[in-house]
């Protein structure tokens, strides 16, 4: 428990301003702006191909943007702003080392877990804090064991990912993301690759995180979970944000016809 307590006090303000992104002629994000307050839990909903995963991935520079910018606690993702005496200054592309450093403020949990299959559960978690020289190996191991206990997998520390169920793998992946003590956690359809009976155990872990005050941005199809856990829901379609509001507003009383249409199909 103590391992995660600090996250309640850290900030985690995400600002997305006028972001556009195209693949060839296909525009996946069109002039998207969104501010996510520290500690807020935001769910992004939308039909498949609407750009919701792309939007999520721009937050830690796994996708670059064509126009606009993204910042976390005021520091730009992927660029550095250097002001000049006269004029607004210039944006300098960051070196890889800097990008990696800023990335560690943002944890990502993937749809397909992406655990390292040749490392055990505990080795998966230890890897980043040790490689980034944040912790010594014994300290990192202690942290990892604590995190595994936190997600209910203390007895699986030395299991390889292939020896775990999908739900267990995803919980290890969440523990791995937490090991760097990120200010913001991104969930990219964390339960979409799971058997229905395993979804609950992963949602339970995310629910606990939501209570602890880390900023969470979640892309999911689990509407019931979104309603329960989110402070705000963002509905996106064809790269446009069509609607944002509390779960009661967006899910209970959708204003945009396409949101209504989507919810009618989903429910």
């Amino acid at each position: 428990m103590t391992i995660l307590d600090h996250t309640a006090t850290t900030t985690g303000l995400v600002e997305i301003r006028s972001v556009s992104k195209s693949y060839g002629n296909h525009e996946v994000l069109h002039d998207v702006s969104l501010t996510i307050e520290p500690g807020e839990v935001v769910t992004i909903l939308g039909p498949s191909g609407s750009g919701k995963s792309t939007l999520l991935r721009t937050i830690n520079h796994l996708e670059t943007v064509d126009r606009g910018w993204v910042s976390i606690d005021g520091s730009l993702i992927g660029y550095e702003h250097r002001p000049e005496k006269d004029g607004p200054g210039k944006l300098y592309e960051l070196k890889e080392k800097e990008i990696l450093k800023r990335r560690t403020q943002v944890g990502v949990v993937f749809q397909n877990f992406n655990l390292f299959p040749h490392l055990t559960a505990v080795e998966n978690i230890v890897e980043a804090p040790v490689a980034l020289k944040r912790l010594s190996k014994p300290d990192a191991r202690e942290l990892a064991l604590g995190l595994l206990d936190r997600v209910g997998l203390a007895d699986k520390a030395d299991a390889y990912p292939r020896q775990l169920s999908g739900g267990q793998q995803q919980r290890v992946a969440i523990a791995r993301a937490l090991a760097l003590q990120p200010k913001v956690l991104l969930f990219d359809e964390p339960t979409s690759a799971l058997d229905p009976e395993l979804v609950g155990e992963v949602l339970d872990v995310i629910r606990d995180l939501a209570k602890l005050g880390t900023t969470l941005v979640i892309v999911t199809h689990e509407l019931g979970f979104a309603r329960e856990v989110s402070d705000r829901i963002v509905f996106i379609d064809h790269g446009h944000i069509l609607e944002t509001g509390t779960p009661a507003e967006v899910l209970g009383n959708p204003k945009h016809p396409r949101t209504q249409d989507f919810l009618a199909k989903a429910l």
Partner: protein
Amino acid sequence: MTSVIGRTGSPTTASAPPLEHAEPKAPIDFGALTVVPTRHWARWILGALVVFVVAQLVFSLFTEPGYHWEVFAKYFFAPAILRGLGLTLLLTVVAGSIGFVAGGVLALMRLSKSPLLSSFAWAFIWFFRSIPLLVQVIVWFNLGYLYPTIGLGIPFTTEYFVEFQTVSLISAFAAAVLGLALHQAAYSAEIIRGGILSVDAGQLEAAAALGLPAHVRVFRIILPQAARSILPNAFNEIIGLLKGTSIVSVIALSEVFYVTQVIYNRNHMVIPMLIVAVVWYTILTTVLSIAQFYIERHFARGSVRVLPPTPIQRARSWVRTQWDRLDDAPAKEVRS
């Protein structure tokens, strides 16, 4: 089938109508019946044929005087042969190490986002895969005709600070190493690149998302996973290289095959001397194959739920089973 098995497992016949109060036949316990195995006649005939051919061959090994086993025995551990063997191993290790390290660098260059690096690597691989190894070794050996001297100096001029005679710089050994290593680099580059491409893109993404530095991503995350598909091909290449060293006998480098040739030119015992080389190559290849088994097993961690037993573990378990059978019946099946 003469009878139809009913749902209850008791045989019924079509002609006998079921009677209300008929005595039901006792159900047959199929588990207790004797099983008659299928006879594989074709398999047995072919098997007999194979046994005959092998027996004939072994018989001729002992009876055919042309083998001259006494000559084989005399030269198998001869100092000249062992020295040749040492050189063969040295060439394999040196050229193999340079080849695989250079191949790894070339593979990373080909995967680089820089078009210049990637085209250079492509061109290198294209060029050195195009030239037969034999031709390449002879070209390196004769480089002195093209560039009589090699030196360090001001680029694009003939001003040298230091200058060497090519002939003295590129000895037969250096020519052999150059030829074998460059040839090996071109082939292993493609093998390593294939291995890297076989790793799921999500792995690189997850490593990047964790902020892992480039060298950690390559050496801790990507290469250990790529090793699974690199290793079988890499061992093919190392074994190929070991045998390929016999090519450098054309530039009179006294590796094991050259030494056997020198000896049979003198004593005219061609076949016995060739068998000396054949047996030594076979022994070295066997050692490499055993090493391959254990190294592949090491890198299989995490990709199989349970590692397969090693041949030694399997042999031990077999002996244990047989031992138990001697003692008390019925035998306990020992599985590992």
